[in-house]
């Protein structure tokens, strides 16, 4: 299990090894089955990550394979994190050690939940993801550097079979990218800084003023 601290402050990069969980439409019920939702804190969620898939694969799931322990970058395919809005899903991944996710596309709520935890989700086209996945599978010990400002992931020397210069282009919407780079991904403080505007908005909503609840 990774010893990296939970994300904090500006996140310019994520370094580390890659773990690949392949397949389209991997929903949050699979990332963390509902029985693990019975908790009042997020501690201890790591064991729930992909729990049923891991059970089914009896030790051969990427999250169980010894060579992937300590990996920090998860590489997935299309529509990752669809389904339930549970933040337990990115929490479980984060507590297992994941600090960034790269994939073809992400479900919107999942993307937002990751952002709120300081976990960047970057996208790339099918061919790029496939190439990256093959590279990582061919050499699970290879280290990579995900550079958020330039939205790319690079191979880091020294690693067998990996040119240090090898790089793959990724993309991320400018807004979330800036939030992560500047450390403003934790929204609460920003939202609270608009006191006057909040009051003004509330005052113009008829259901708060002229026909308030019961």
């Amino acid at each position: 299990m990774s010893a990296s601290p939970f994300p904090f402050g500006p996140i310019p990069e994520v370094a580390g090894r890659i773990v690949v969980v392949a397949g389209d439409d991997i929903d949050t019920d699979r990332i963390i089955p509902a029985r693990f939702l019975k908790c009042v804190t997020f501690e201890g969620l790591a064991e729930g990550a992909f729990a049923d898939d891991r059970l089914e694969l009896a030790g051969s799931h990427p999250f169980d394979r010894p060579e992937h322990q300590g990996a920090t970058i998860l590489v997935v395919n299309r529509n990752f994190g669809c389904g339930s809005s549970r933040e337990h899903a990115p929490q479980a991944l984060m507590r297992w050690g994941i600090r960034a996710v790269v994939g073809e596309s992400f479900a919107e709520i999942f993307f937002g939940n990751c952002l709120a935890l300081g976990i960047p989700c970057l996208s790339a086209d099918h061919a790029t993801i496939l190439a990256l996945q093959q590279q990582a599978l061919a050499d699970p010990a290879a280290c990579f550097l995900l550079d958020l400002a330039s939205a790319e992931i690079r191979g880091q020397a020294p690693a067998a079979g990996l040119e240090p210069a090898q790089r793959w282009d990724l993309s991320m919407a400018a807004g979330p990218q800036q939030m992560l780079l500047s450390g403003q991904w934790n929204a609460t403080g920003q939202l609270l800084s608009h006191e006057e505007e909040l009051q003004r908005t509330a005052a113009r909503l008829p259901y708060l003023a002229t026909f308030a609840l019961g």
């Binding site: 397949g23 019975k38 929204a187 608009h194 909503l205």
Partner: protein
């Protein structure tokens, strides 16, 4: 308008968005005011804990409404619950609500139930509101012409602290449905058909506006079923423009405006509907009459087929859908090209925020009446709320179901996601009126789910296999009487704090 809340032009989505816009945030998102915040026991405890860590309070406790639904047992709801974890979750919610002055519609209050069932029936969900809840099926409340969406736990914390959220504006796709649904075809079939056609990712980045003559003729409960599953099509919210049906549903409910305030509300609500000047980013059209009873055969809500169709073969689908289809054949134990009709089922579940309302129970009861659950089948009915249960019992649906061999349970989410003791075992197949057929969703890692309308679930229960409800209804002239919109029963008055 004269009452504030000047309404701009465009789609309902645009208008509601503009009204609730607080500020533009660095990073390009918009701070949006949240009109109604619904909370429950699963996604709120960590949010309250985070609030405490930050030394913050709840900004608008009077705009925050709580209930307990996901973990409640449906056999005995006596406290403490047999499951200590479930008990701890409810106790934590009770403590948090008490501490922050939030109304909790508790077990036995007459108002408890699935969060997406109770907010509408209490009159809390209203047109023009922004509604958020730490639950993806919050899209349900879009049926009222609200912009309603699911959020994660960090966002629950943000709404508690600031009554607002950082959001990005969605595009709007208008889904026009014209004509009339055939007898035996319901809103559930319609939305399964839409998702089947547009795909589970088709709605990503969009809000779905449901419009057209078919949608206009739907009851509020049917519109809720429709909007409930917008999220299964990838659309974070779905909505229907408010109209006379909407207003008639809200009128007289506990939190509805009254007297002069009612008239002001109706004027404002009416102005919110998408106008003739509304521009949509996309538009698709369906003919209601061509939609069959629809059922899922696979492991995503988009893997749906007409009940008389066969499981599609890889050749019949686009290349990118084949891998997940292969996974589905394997998991479901179904062969490509096999008919779905006649597939034996083990468990039949009627309930959930998709189909746990009175009209759903009536539709299922119409099929169950005078018939009996097939041998070896476990069939149970879980009303969506205490109020639904009371209404159903008042018209004798509980005894009707019990006579037909169904179990009649206490309200809650139940086997929709099986966080309570109701769950599949091993590879059991369920016919389910819920909204998700993901692997393991109903409590067994290898359990299988077929999504369908409540009437279709009842048909499966009495025949022991996937059946075409139209045939059962044809041979059953008693059915089809109950179409009126259910009215609220007298609920024990429990005024706001």
């Amino acid at each position: 308008m004269g009452i504030g809340g000047t309404v701009s032009a465009g789609t309902l989505y645009d208008k509601v968005w503009d009204l609730h816009r607080v500020a533009e945030l660095p990073g390009g998102s918009t701070q949006l005011f949240i009109g109604l915040h619904l909370i429950h026991e699963v996604t709120s405890p960590q949010a309250f804990a985070a609030l405490k860590e930050l030394g913050l309070g709840v900004r608008h406790p009077e705009r925050t409404v709580a209930t307990v639904d996901h973990i409640v047992p449906t056999t005995s709801q006596a406290r403490p619950f047999a499951d200590p974890l479930a008990e701890e979750m409810l106790a934590t919610l009770e403590r948090n609500c008490a501490e922050h002055g939030i109304t909790l519609h508790a077990l036995g209050s007459g108002r408890q139930g699935i969060v997406h069932v109770i907010a509408p029936e209490l009159g809390l969900s209203q047109p023009g509101m922004t509604i958020a809840c730490g639950d993806s099926h919050t899209s349900t409340h879009g049926a009222f012409g609200a912009i309603a969406f699911g959020i994660g736990t960090s966002q629950v914390r943000d709404v508690l602290a600031s009554q607002s959220l950082a959001m990005n504006k969605l595009k709007v796709r208008r889904i026009l449905v014209e004509g009339t649904l055939q007898p035996g075809v319901f809103a559930k079939d319609l939305i399964l058909h839409v998702i089947r056609s547009l795909g589970v990712k088709g709605g990503v980045g969009f809000a779905y506006e449901f419009a057209g003559s078919c949608i206009e003729s739907l009851s509020m409960e049917e519109r809720m079923t429709l909007c409930n599953m917008a999220i299964e099509g990838g659309a974070r919210c779905g909505y229907v423009n408010p109209d006379a049906t909407t207003f008639a549903y809200i009128k007289g409910r506990p939190f509805a405006p009254e007297g002069a305030a009612w008239d002001r509300a109706v004027t404002w609500w009416s102005a919110l509907a998408s106008g003739p000047d509304a521009r949509f980013d996309d538009e698709v059209r369906f003919e209601a009459a061509t939609i069959p009873p629809t059922i899922t055969w696979g492991i995503t809500p988009g893997q749906g087929i007409g009940v008389d169709e066969a499981v599609p073969t890889p050749e019949q689908m686009p290349a990118e859908e084949r891998p997940i289809a292969e996974e589905a054949y394997h998991y479901m134990g179904l062969a490509p090209g096999a008919p779905i009709l006649g597939l034996p089922v083990d468990v039949c579940f009627i309930g959930s925020c998709t189909n746990g309302r009175l009209s759903d129970l009536r539709a299922a009861a119409a099929v169950a009446l005078g018939r009996h659950v097939a041998p070896g089948i476990k069939a149970f009915v879980v009303p969506g709320s205490e109020q639904v249960a009371a209404l159903a019992e008042a018209e004798g649906l509980d005894t009707l179901f019990e006579k037909a061999g169904f179990e009649w349970r206490e309200p809650g989410c139940s086997m929709c996601l099986a966080m309570n003791p109701d769950r599949l075992e091993g590879r059991q197949i369920s016919a389910s009126s819920s909204n998700r057929n993901f692997k393991g969703r109903q409590g067994s890692a290898s359990g299988r789910t077929l999504l369908m309308s409540p009437a279709m679930v009842a048909a499966a229960a009495v025949t022991g296999q996937v059946s075409d409800v139209r045939e059962l209804l044809e041979s059953h002239p008693v059915a089809g009487s109950a179409s009126a919109e259910p009215r609220p029963v007298a609920i024990s008055p429990s005024p706001l704090p």
